[in-house]
């Protein structure tokens, strides 16, 4: 009875959404191992160090979650724009400007009671990030300037602008280094140290802070926005088929602007973690590549909050474990982990279909055998 055939649509969901991404991730990590070998170190030792550094002790694990917080924001930022088929690779600049927003609001309104100043600062970060994304969005929708080029240019411009401000305008004048004064201590976001004290765990220092919960809330916010609201539906319609969307009376212009502004705003929230939570001042270059890593996080997480959470956690492990590796292995610098990100984007983004047909047809054949048996 071999004429009963199961077609591709019967492939179980976990094959396309879990098995295939895992195979791609494995490939990326194998090639990364090769690079570590070329750089003159032992890849297996590096893996051991990564696992120890990110899970081995409580402080390391707190760092892992702190990096995860940043990657959730930048990953969501890329994902939201991507649902409208926009490549927002300007997360770096938007986060930088978002940091300016959170700082300006917090320092000027620090007399307000605690939760209110936090809320307003978060709004400041979101609005500044969104405003920085607005111009590329406008140019894309009205003038057809490709958003990839304009957002990259806006990263460079943001960097110049912030250096200018940090050197000439808002620098702490008692210092030579280009950074601002510290925010008053009363309005710092409570860090993990405070909570761990209550739980009876003593740790010396941890950058993990309340922003982690904001990141988790953002995951729900994006899920609700993109899949449960009219806005999200229109945004995805424009991304999927602009012509059809216009036919259905959906304005591409409006949706491009909304998608990019929300995306920029989410990237801006990185400033909340970095400035209200950790360093309490603006330092030159604080987004440190988190914006670019967001691209890898989003693509690995298939642009869905449920995928972005584990992907951000994985990159948290890579960052924290990676710093352990750079500490122990003289030949490895943090740039090796930038290369690893590139490989993950390559294998789980551009080459995602490399083995998909083979894996899917393997399961189709197995289902066929079961049906026929």
């Amino acid at each position: 009875m071999s004429n009963i055939v199961v077609d591709k649509s019967k492939v179980p969901w976990w094959v396309s959404n879990i098995i295939v991404p895992l195979v791609n991730l494995t490939l990326a990590l194998l090639v990364s191992g090769l690079f570590i070998f070329i750089a003159g170190e032992n890849p297996i030792e590096a893996v051991k160090l990564i696992i120890y550094g990110s899970f081995g002790y409580i402080q390391g694990f707190a760092y892992t979650l702190y990096y995860t917080t940043n990657f959730i924001f930048t990953g969501l930022a890329f994902a939201v724009a991507f649902h409208c088929r926009l490549f927002n690779i300007g997360g770096e600049g938007q986060a930088y400007i978002g940091g300016l927003g959170v700082f300006l609001v917090a320092i000027n309104l620090s007399f307000l009671p605690i939760p209110i100043v936090w809320l307003l600062s978060i709004c400041g970060a979101f609005l500044f990030g969104a405003a920085w994304a607005y111009i590329p969005a406008y140019l894309q929708s009205k003038r057809g300037s490709h958003v990839v080029i304009t957002t990259i240019m806006f990263n460079f411009i943001a960097s110049s602008l912030m250096i200018f401000l940090l050197v000439d305008v808002i620098r702490d004048t008692n210092q030579m280094a280009p950074h601002t004064v510290k925010l008053p201590e009363e309005i710092w976001l409570p860090s993990f140290e405070a909570f761990s004290g209550i739980l009876g765990i003593k740790i010396r220092y941890s950058p993990l802070n309340l922003t982690f919960l904001l990141a988790i809330a953002s995951l729900f916010f994006v899920w609700f926005l993109v899949w449960k609201t009219k806005w999200g539906y229109e945004m995805r319609a424009v991304g999927h088929n602009t012509q059809a969307a216009i036919y259905a009376g959906i304005s591409p212009h409006k949706n491009i602007i909304i998608a990019m502004c929300i995306s920029g705003g989410l990237a801006g929230l990185l400033g909340v973690n970095e400035i209200l939570g950790v360093s309490h001042k603006i330092q030159a270059g604080f987004p440190a590549g988190y914006g670019f890593t967001g691209i890898a996080v989003a693509l690995m997480g298939r642009n869905h909050p449920i995928g972005i959470l584990p992907a951000a956690f994985l990159f948290g492990i890579l960052y924290q474990g990676g710093s352990e590796v750079t500490f122990e292995m003289p030949n490895i610098t943090r740039y090796m982990f930038v290369a690893v990100q590139g490989l993950i984007i390559l294998f789980s983004g551009a080459l995602e279909n490399l083995f998909r047909p083979q894996i899917e047809s393997f399961f189709v054949r197995r289902l066929n055998r079961e049906v026929n048996a």
Binding site: S145, I149, S160, L161, T333, A339, Q341, G349, L351
Partner: protein, 323 residues
Amino acid sequence: MEFLSDIASLINSTLRISTPLVFAAMAGIFAERSGVIDFSLEGKMLMAAFVAAVGSYYLGNPWLGLLLAIIVCVCLSMLHGFASVTHKGDQVVSCVAINILIIGLTTALAAAWFGQAGLTPTLNEDQRFLEIHLPFADALRDIPVIGTLYSDILSGHYVFVYLAYLSVPLVFWIVFKTSFGLRLRAVGENPSAVDTAGINVFTMRYKALAINGVLIAFAGAHLSTAVNANFFREMSAGRGYLALAAMIFGKWHPKTALIACLLFGFTDALQIRLQGVELPAIGEIPVQLIQALPYILTVVLLAGFVGKAIAPNAIGQPYIKER
């Protein structure tokens, strides 16, 4: 005379600064005319700079370094093709992946091999390209106008500068006057028609990407073995994107793309001259604003004066052969 020599040196640096942009824009024209988006010019230029510097250092000859850079860049172009032509992956994602991979890999390997915080060793005179002084340049220098034009502007450049400007008419001829060029453009406009005519769409796109790899290697080698004598971290500094913007501004056409590249080069040359200069009525312009000028110009050009930039029709779409 002071003014004239100022202008001459400004033009001289414009020509030199525009060189990598011209190579990259020409490389971009081949890829994009065949229907493949190439944002990875940036990454490939950086890789070429790294490979050329390391190759010249170990092999003792800059031409061998250039050859290695060409081989590696063609491989990267093939990788882009493998992902986006053969496996029909997203072309922009593939480019972003290559760019991030190269930023990380070049600096990581430079640090692992040479220690010096991501710098490759400084090349000596045998290991790098030197400025070419055209014959009689010194003798003719004192003749007014012609002397300045010949000795101060045309003479004394690196070989890449001359090659870059020679490549423009060559690219024009290949793309617009040969049957290969006709097929190339057709593949980018209407791949299924080309397929019907019995020409393999995939092979055409791979050929275009191979040429793209060769051209971009020259841009990188210019940076690390001619104007500089070593490779340093992220030394391409956005030039790949500027070149792409120039190409779009030039409407995917070699001649107009050249003009746009020269405009970028001029802004950059002016930028270097303006630093620290007091302007009447404005005072000293902040150095950060001046440094951001080329990037601001890119945005303005893409936004304002392009009119409607009409890309090759099939750009960004993987070709799916009907069965």
